[in-house]
Symmetry: C2
């Protein structure tokens, strides 16, 4: 129901409250809060469990069942190198969590510094650039280390590059979180111009790094993937190779709980990372790396595999967007039309996001908490909501979104009654 001028807002509010009451009485219990793959997506890789058997020789450069090979097995490294266009010497395969690699990268910088620089812990106040809205777990890492986070405006081309260029004149600015492709939550892909300007940044701090979380590097919802320029290549061409740490994983390609994460960077950065990491572990799980290699064999097969994901989740994104289009007017909400990734970003009327989420929760539908797409959980406009369509069934999703819309309308009308 769109809001028209025929009824007063208080009349409209009453109507919406009746709709809401009906949902509330249905005792719903739906969780839309996290970007988790659904069982059908996980099933796509279930064949991996037939690949290794008791007679498989799990061996290549060495016996992969044994200790060693800190940077991972060459066979799966090659596939990742093909996907993100880096050299094997620029890549390390980790465990199952790219978040872990990011956290550890920040912690290493805090404790030991970067390439001979003073440890961040000893540099007084440290600052970090955070394009908003962004990923709550990124912000949680920088918050945990007591790093001051600075909101950076983000539009459909990427973060505000002029703002960034002004900020990095401050030597206390040491890093920047980026989800450059199918961004969490807005779904945008950084434009060529933005990537080029980021790759060639000349920050005051030599230990400034871009933490480039390419979580959705091949996670298109369409037949054709939207290309993203290779930031490391451009950085290298411009004698600026050390500016970026690239992260990613197969968490949303194979198994969210048991994929392969990676970090890629210049050889100089990687050499330092490996030196430090060799104190922390003898190596990550090479058997799982080998299973992943044996299941896919080539990067082309992984790209094809992603089309199967798209077939499953595209209809879910469509339901969310259709429901928003059908039920919400432009003065109540604007939303993104992502071509990939895991989220739809919805900007509600200012000052209504918290109330909307609270109303939905009261009716048994959990959304990502309002504010969580901003550092410190503080969305200054109380507007942005991250919608995660992948996990619920189509039917649950439809119900959840109807609840969301009526909640958004009530929150709006309460404010404008």
């Amino acid at each position: 129901m769109l809001i028209t001028s025929n009824q007063s807002n208080s009349e409209l509010l009453k109507t919406e409250q009746l709709v809401y009451a009906e949902y509330k009485s249905a005792n719903l219990n739906l969780d839309m809060s996290r970007g988790k793959p659904c069982p059908a997506q996980l099933d796509l890789s279930q064949g991996m469990f037939d690949i290794l058997t008791s007679s498989t020789v799990i061996k290549g450069a060495q016996d992969y069942r044994n200790y060693g090979l800190l940077d991972g097995i060459p066979e799966f490294k090659k596939i990742v190198c093909d996907l993100i266009n880096v050299q094997p010497s620029e890549l390390l395969l980790g465990g199952n969590s790219s978040l872990n690699l990011m956290y550890d990268s920040v912690q290493r910088a805090m404790q030991f510094g970067i390439l001979g620089g003073t440890p961040f812990n000893k540099q007084g106040k440290i600052k970090w650039l955070c394009p908003v809205p962004g990923y709550d777990r990124h912000f949680a890492i920088t918050e945990t280390f007591g790093i001051e986070m600075i909101n950076v405006p983000l539009d459909e081309n990427g973060p505000d590059i002029n703002f960034i260029k002004a900020q990095i004149k401050d030597p206390a600015v040491k890093g920047m979180w980026c989800v450059p492709k199918y961004s969490n939550p807005t779904g945008i892909v950084y434009s060529d111009s933005i990537v080029e300007q980021l790759a060639t940044l000349k920050p005051a701090a030599s230990d400034f790094r871009i933490y480039w979380d390419n979580a959705y590097m091949i996670h298109t919802l369409e037949e054709q993937d939207t290309p993203l320029l290779n930031i490391l290549t451009i950085a290298k061409q411009n004698n600026n190779a050390d500016i970026v740490y690239i992260f990613g994983s197969t968490s949303k390609i194979t198994f969210a709980g048991g994929g392969i994460a990676f970090i890629a960077s210049s050889e100089k950065n990687m050499s330092e990372i490996k030196k430090r990491m060799s104190m922390q572990t003898i190596g990550h799980d090479k058997i799982n790396q080998f299973a992943h290699y044996s299941f896919f064999k080539t990067s082309t097969n992984i790209i094809e595999h992603m089309q199967k994901h798209a077939k499953i989740i595209k209809p879910k994104f469509d339901i969310v967007i259709n429901t928003l289009e059908t039920l919400l007017d432009a003065n109540i909400a604007k939303w993104s039309y992502p071509k990939g990734g895991y989220f739809i970003s919805c900007d509600l009327a200012h000052g209504t996001a918290k109330r909307t989420i609270a109303l939905a929760k009261e009716a048994g539908v959990i959304f990502t908490p309002a504010g969580s797409t901003y550092p410190y959980g503080n969305d200054p406009l109380d507007s942005n909501v991250r919608i995660a369509p992948t996990l619920p069934s189509l039917q649950d999703l439809s119900t959840a979104m109807k609840v969301f819309c009526v909640a958004a309308k009530i929150a709006y009308l309460e404010k404008h009654a």
Copy 2:
């Protein structure tokens, strides 16, 4: 050949040099440096790869293929709880590396402090107790953080408890490395009295912890395992539950490169660890945890599995000890007779360990570097050598040990010519 009084030392040296020259001309290339399981040991768990198939439902408390369950799956937690006699609330299953859990525990203490205490980074000089000889990778962690390491004498009952009690009066002493069972490298098992006294330590520093690396918790070489008292139980009984972090893994039960590591401690400690770790990762690889659970099902089956390991590696330990007994006299070397674990510790005549290892290396046989069983790689007596018998074949082992013995004799005779 034992050294007798019939010949002068310089005559004996010439004889040994001839033997050595023969080995050298054989162009050997043997690596005895690391405690790695051999392929036959890894084959014991190869059946795990038949357990999960494309039709396996990898599910329990939740879909284990998806995100979540930071502390691990309850099914495998139960098995580990049964093995080490702790409660599920006192246990967290990690990734494939207990070293990683140890490193991260020290790093957390450095960065954030322990249970509200000041971060170690802000406490000035920090000290650590290191029973010697010990595990080089432990010492590498504390060295990496700039922590001053204090050698603690170790005998057949465990570390010198009176020395420890004196040291922990210093509030700068924050931790202690222990390998309490089949110790690396001496093979000793801490006596009941030592465990009891460690469990009831009252250090000046409330953020002092014992880092209890129970790496060889069930790794007997005999039919009967040597029991080790449960330090956490005793600590709890004495209102001292927070004194210890326990670590372990299945690295030398299933796969060195792809096992399951764990950390166990008081609920209070675990609650803090989980809170911090939840910033670092959403969870560890639950699919591998489920594979481990499905392969073993019960702790009893794991214990039985260890007998198969013992059958493979006991003969290797025997060859090392027999060769030492046959070729080396008591004035040249003393060695351990371990009942479990992965190492034989050999104390050479003072001042000859480095030379012995160098001679062996020159003849193509790599041993763990002399000194590496001591903090900073500094064995004050230049005496201790860690011998790792598990990886090489019986034949290689026999050759390697003969080279070791002739090298030890030459090093001794050079010094006493």
